[in-house]
């Protein structure tokens, strides 16, 4: 057998010798446990993150067949303390997916079925007259927005006034009624769904509101095998049940951990370039197909989503692959196509794909 004569780093070749500092650094590797000011629950969660994610996925698969990418993206939105908009045809399990997640995470879950006659107070809550000790007083009756996970089903069927009632709740995580302000529970997510069909009588979400959703997740039809499993799951004697994997505290720790994932300057620049290229100010794909590009909020969202993706994939750094992968759900609802591209049937995903090729 041939003996290797190469010298490792720290050895000596061409006059480079191992320094004392270097030797000390090798002997005493940095302790991961003794980092001051690092919360214990964060440390615990970090070391078990991959297992936690796998367990969540396993439990979800007991109820949902396939749709791994959708589940991953919903979790990314939750881990980044953001909201997601799910779009897909009826009957694809969007609502089931979200309610199952709330069960797995032991979170309070509420659902609003949006209709044109839904009032803002139906979401935020309202003052009701209550009789107490013979006196009539106004009491604030909390609406469904006071929960951890709020599912706004078919959000585009609600009127703009009702939709905007969600704005403050989504952005500020508080509700103002009259002169009083009520903070919302932590964690708080709005997961809204909308159908791409039956657009008559709907109110497309205003740009300001769509921008507040970190991701727009497209729920597609399941494959034949997945559908076969769905049939087996829901035509049997028992309806599948899930168990709790993480609680609120762990979830908050994961959210904190997500923001600690480091990102290289080069990768950050890559994300910036992608978002900048969506703005139709310079010649290129954006000018050709778009009327409006993504805002700086999209850049923040893209980097955050990439961090969350890195975390759930068990990586301690963000890669360009994360950015590329998250560019679609982060940008697709933030780009406004021009008439020409709509006429040609070009979708925002097509434009994002072109931009990714350019960058």
């Amino acid at each position: 057998m041939k003996k290797r004569t190469q010298t490792k780093i720290g050895g000596s070749i061409w006059g480079i010798r191992e320094t004392n500092e270097r030797r000390d650094a090798l002997k005493e590797p940095i302790s991961l446990i003794d980092i001051p000011n690092e919360k214990e629950d964060i440390k615990r969660v970090y070391h078990k993150m991959k297992d936690i994610y796998n367990e969540i996925l396993y439990e979800m698969k007991r109820v949902i067949a396939g749709q791994e990418k959708v589940i991953e993206q919903i979790l990314i939105a939750i881990f980044t303390r953001n909201h997601a908009l799910l779009e897909g045809f009826p009957g694809l399990g969007k609502t089931l997916m979200i309610s199952t997640l709330s069960e797995i995470m032991d979170l309070d879950f509420k659902r609003i079925q949006c209709t044109p006659d839904l009032m803002p107070s139906d979401i935020t809550g309202t003052y009701v007259v209550e009789e107490r000790d013979g006196r009539k007083i106004f009491k604030f009756e909390k609406g469904p927005v006071f929960t951890n996970i709020l599912l706004a089903d078919e959000i585009n069927r609600a009127t703009p006034k009702t939709q905007s009632a969600l704005l403050e709740a989504m952005q500020e995580r508080q509700v103002s009624v009259g002169t009083s302000t009520y903070p919302l529970d932590r964690p708080f997510f709005v997961l809204a769904t909308q159908n791409p069909i039956e657009m008559e009588g709907t109110y497309p979400l205003p740009e300001a509101q769509t921008d507040r959703f970190l991701l727009k997740i497209l729920v597609d039809y399941p494959s034949m095998e997945e559908e076969d499993r769905i049939v087996d799951l829901y035509t049997g004697e028992t309806i599948p049940k899930t168990k709790r994997i993480i609680g609120k505290e762990k979830l908050l720790a994961i959210q904190e951990l997500t923001r600690k994932i480091p990102i290289a300057n080069e990768v950050k620049e890559y994300a910036l370039n992608i978002v900048t290229k969506t703005r139709p100010i310079t010649d290129g794909t954006a000018k050709k197909y778009l009327d409006y590009g993504a805002s700086p909020r999209a850049t923040i969202g893209l980097v955050l989503a990439a961090k969350a993706r890195a975390l759930i994939n068990g990586r301690n750094y963000v890669s360009k692959e994360d950015i590329r992968e998250m560019a679609y759900p982060v940008l697709r609802h933030r780009l406004i196509l021009n008439f020409e591209s709509e006429r040609k049937g070009i979708t925002t995903d097509d434009v994002i794909g072109e931009i990714l090729k350019e960058v």
């Binding site: 061409w14 480079i16 940095i30 600690k260 290289a264 890669s319």
Partner: protein
């Protein structure tokens, strides 16, 4: 601050520069040798090749300074460090559980880095072989007289170009060994009989210039196998002007300057006459040629009178 990463990167950086220095020197030698060979073929002194070599050296060093990225060079050799190393380096001032675990991970992976992997063995071997070959060629063309092989590289460059090189560099370009310009042909003997009779390498019948030890047998003129018994092309310099000078053997073997001095009074020569050997005859004005012709006519008359 993540010192382990920074110190390791510094180590690799030092090593990288040593490798670059080695490659630059090797490349510069190759450039020098290549140019030296070309110049030698063209009859230009090989030392001029040091100029392109120095220019190449400077360009290569500047290019490498701007291009060298230690992290990138590590990542190319060790793809498992791709993005990890850059992230750890960019976040070297951040201290949290994730960054620290990344640093530990990167440090562990960097332990597996081999110094020798940064040296492109194939490239070094190929360049070393090329250097040896070039050295061999260079030495060979210096030992073997390439002019004997019948190459006329001067013709490719043109005389004006060589003159320019001469003026620029100050070096005398060798172009007499077998390479003769059309203008130089007039300095050759007009027929071979002349050289045979005046004496060449094998000796001649008539006394020639610097006649040999045995009178009447010639033998004193000529150098090597040069067919021109008068050696290099010559011109005379009169009053600061270079003029062509043809020496006809039938006028005799020696030019006695003393006689010329005597004739100077009759021949209306300007003062301070001096002769200068030159390799390149220059274009002379018509009046100078006429003057020379008269001079030699007078000289011939004197010689005839003496006989």
């Amino acid at each position: 601050m993540n010192d382990p990463i920074v110190s390791r990167l510094n180590e690799v950086k030092k090593l990288s520069w040593k490798i670059h220095a080695f490659c630059v020197i090797l490349n510069t030698i190759i450039v020098f040798l290549a140019f030296a060979i070309i110049l030698r073929f063209l009859g230009i002194p090989a030392i001029i090749a040091i100029c392109p070599a120095i220019i190449y050296l400077m360009i290569d060093v500047i290019y490498r300074i701007h291009r060298t990225n230690v992290i990138r060079s590590i990542v190319i050799k060790y793809p498992s460090l791709n993005e990890r190393l850059q992230t750890a380096y960019d976040n070297r001032n951040v201290r949290n559980i994730v960054v620290e675990s990344l640093v530990k991970d990167v440090s562990r992976r960097m332990d597996r880095i081999w110094y020798s992997s940064f040296l492109d063995t194939k490239e070094v071997i190929s360049r070393t072989i090329l250097t040896v070959i070039l050295v061999f060629i260079f030495l060979s063309i210096n030992f073997i007289n390439i002019e004997d092989l019948g190459f006329n590289f001067h013709g490719l460059l043109g005389r004006d170009f060589l003159d320019q090189i001469e003026n620029l560099t100050g070096f005398d370009i060798v172009r007499d060994d077998g390479f003769q310009w059309e203008e130089e042909e007039k300095f050759e003997s007009k027929n071979r009989v002349e050289e045979d009779t005046l004496g060449g390498e094998s000796g001649g019948e008539l006394p020639g210039i610097n006649e040999g030890p045995i009178p009447g047998f010639g033998g004193g003129v000529g150098e090597g196998s040069n067919p021109d018994i008068y050696g290099e092309a010559s011109s005379a310099k009169i009053a600061g002007e270079d003029i062509d000078m043809e020496v006809h053997p039938e006028y005799g073997g020696e030019i006695e300057i003393k006689d010329v001095e005597e004739e100077k009074v009759r021949g209306k020569f300007p003062g301070n006459l001096k002769g200068k050997s030159s390799e390149i005859p220059e274009q002379d004005p018509v009046w100078a040629r006429e003057l020379i012709r008269k001079y030699f006519q007078s000289l011939q008359n004197i010689l005839e009178e003496e006989e």
